[in-house]
């Protein structure tokens, strides 16, 4: 159940937390006492506007927002794309950039896309992987793992992997190369379908402020 007076915002803990808190500060929201090492999971700021934050795992943010336990959420597109939740995607915040890629062991780097047909792919993102290969008209066998995906080709469990790549260091360290770039991912501001309508007076100005900040930031960067 949503609380009526508080605007509840779900934040991803981990690397996204610091830039998100910076953005919230710029937008004039209270964030005192929240930092990446804090153990509390809920922070309430009564006042005007009344804001409540919940700090949770990035992969849990869309669930909180979809079911209305949070009105807004800050989370990576990679998580949204994989979960396909029924939430509104309001703003591309630009930070936390990475991309989905198909990667293979270095000795296979000359493979063409077609040659991947009917092969095995290990991934933490079965939905994204499945959709990508299906759209290319290819059929692959997907093996869902929960971490250290790079291990799978080394051990002969899979021929390739689909994973998110940010600096590319993990791939290099495991002697793998990127074969296909699937899609970009950055942090997004998402919103519950109903909150957007029932708390519109609180949410819309905040979204516009953040949009303006993001646009301004782009200009400064250029």
């Amino acid at each position: 159940m949503m609380s009526q007076e508080y605007l509840t915002i779900a934040l991803s803990k981990g690397t996204l937390l610091t830039p998100t808190l910076e953005l919230l500060t710029q937008a004039g929201l209270p964030v005192e006492g929240i930092h990446k090492d804090s153990r509390s999971m809920i922070f309430s700021f009564p006042g005007e506007p009344a804001i409540k934050y919940i700090i949770c795992r990035p992969t849990d943010v869309p669930a909180y927002v979809e079911h209305g336990a949070a009105d807004l959420g800050f989370v990576g597109k990679d998580v949204i794309a994989e979960q396909g939740r029924d939430v509104f995607e309001m703003v591309d915040l630009g930070y936390g950039g990475c991309h989905f890629a198909v990667a293979v062991p270095k000795e296979q780097e000359n493979l063409t896309l077609k040659e991947l047909n009917y092969r095995r792919v290990a991934t933490k993102f079965p939905v994204v992987a499945e959709r990508f290969f299906r759209e290319k008209g290819l059929q692959v066998e997907i093996i869902t793992l929960h971490g250290n995906i790079e291990l799978a080709p080394l051990m002969g469990l899979a021929d390739m992997i689909v994973d998110i790549v940010s600096s590319g260091r993990t791939l290099r360290e495991n002697n793998m190369v990127e074969l296909v770039h699937i899609m970009e991912s950055t942090t997004r501001l998402i919103c519950n379908r109903v909150s957007y309508r029932t708390k519109h007076e609180q949410i819309q100005p905040l979204i516009e402020k953040i949009q303006a900040l993001v646009k301004g930031g782009e200009k400064n960067a250029n």
Partner: protein, 384 residues
């Protein structure tokens, strides 16, 4: 062995829940009836050919099976298409407009979760054979009144006219596939992907800006002034005028406090042609009701007739409304059945709920029993 299981996404309603549903149903039916709406019942399953006339939105969610003659059957995923079929086959010669209501279980193969079941109950009305703002306004105000009548306070009904969006899109030099994509993104409010897609497409800049603004336009009639480009498109400005007329009529009905204009509401189903609306409660993260005008659906069944209506999800409504208060009951005990039956029937005539103690317990035993039950009083007929 699955002798104690039920299929995924289904559920039993226990007495309290069933009572809640019955209460919602009764109050709504009474309200609909007072506006001249009569109940209709259609079969639980239909030929798939019938269901498909409603468009492709629900196609992958149908429960399909075959009859022994090889016909493909579908459990109904909603009621509007069935009622359109019923009207086209049975009501063509009746005087118009026709006002109909229903309360029915519908079936969709969805991923079950809180407030989303594979069998759920819909309560709704359809007004057939009437076009124009007054008809839309009656239907929308009835939706608002139903929620009020059931005791809901903080809810909003979002209102739009799909003609605004559709006419603007038709004007752009996009192909049907691209239009479907844009529509999808506006409906899902995926503003990030929408602005990217629009950037790629060869659309006039002013039109592009208007389409990008539509999903976030939300408020009172004032928002209609924020889309100046619409004046260049005749069909779109006509749609805007229609929306204004409906909104003004809703002010007369005294329900406009609960109504907001929301240009992002397009409704998922393919058959809507005019004013559309959705209802939300802040206590629930999912929509409560939806409806709108569907002037072309009946012609799919060979009967060209305008129509408008809405459906409320009873299961979701029950979640928001919570439990009803338990009414007072009497447990009637004694040794002389004849006396007991006579007394019970006298009390029942006065509208009191009476359970006869069919076990013939003594007064002491019954006094003990009453303590374990809530809402019961004991009435014991002695030997005098």
């Amino acid at each position: 062995m699955r002798s104690r299981e039920i299929p995924k996404g289904l559920r039993d309603l226990l007495p309290d829940e069933a009572k809640n549903r019955r209460n919602i149903e009764n109050k709504a039916a009474q309200l609909f009836h007072s506006f001249g709406y009569d109940e209709v019942v259609t079969p639980t399953f239909e030929f798939m050919d019938v269901i498909e006339k409603g468009g492709s939105t629900l196609r992958d969610k149908l429960f399909l099976f075959m009859d022994r003659e090889g016909g493909i059957l579908s459990l109904r995923p909603e009621m509007t298409v069935s009622i359109a079929r019923l009207a086209a086959t049975h009501l063509q010669d009746e005087p118009m407009p026709q006002r109909l209501f229903y309360s029915a279980n519908v079936f969709r193969h969805v991923q079950p979760q809180m407030a989303q079941y594979r069998e759920f109950w819909q309560l709704g009305i359809e007004m057939l054979g009437a076009s124009g703002a007054w008809a839309d306004a009656e239907v929308i105000s009835l939706a608002v009144m139903t929620l009020k009548e059931l005791g809901l306070e903080h809810f909003k009904v979002s209102l739009n006219q799909v003609g605004i969006f559709n006419s603007l899109l038709a004007e752009s030099s996009t192909n049907p596939n691209e239009r479907e994509q844009i529509r999808n993104l506006v409906e899902r409010k995926d503003l990030v992907e929408l602005s990217r897609l629009l950037e790629r497409l060869p659309i006039h800049d002013d039109l592009k800006e208007t389409i990008a603004r539509l999903p976030v336009l939300h408020g009172d009639m004032e928002v209609l002034n924020q889309i100046p480009y619409v004046e260049n498109n005749r069909a779109a400005s006509q749609a805007v005028e229609e929306l204004i007329k409906v909104y003004e009529a809703l002010q007369i009905y005294g329900v406009s406090d609960h109504v907001v204009i929301d240009m992002g509401v397009l409704r998922g189903l393919d058959y809507y042609t005019g004013v559309v609306f959705e209802g939300y409660s802040p206590e629930l993260g999912y929509g409560l009701l939806g409806g709108g005008r569907y002037d072309n659906l009946l012609s799919q069944f060979g009967y060209d007739c305008p129509a408008t209506g809405f459906a409320i999800g009873m299961d979701r409504l029950a979640l928001v409304l919570g439990q009803q208060e338990q009414e007072q009951r009497y447990l009637l005990g004694g040794k002389n059945l004849e006396k007991m039956v006579r007394e019970a029937s006298k009390l029942r005539d006065k509208g009191i709920i009476v359970e006869i103690d069919i076990e013939g317990n003594s007064q002491e035993v019954l006094e003990q029993k009453i303590k374990e039950k809530t809402g019961y009083s004991l009435l014991y007929l002695g030997n005098e």
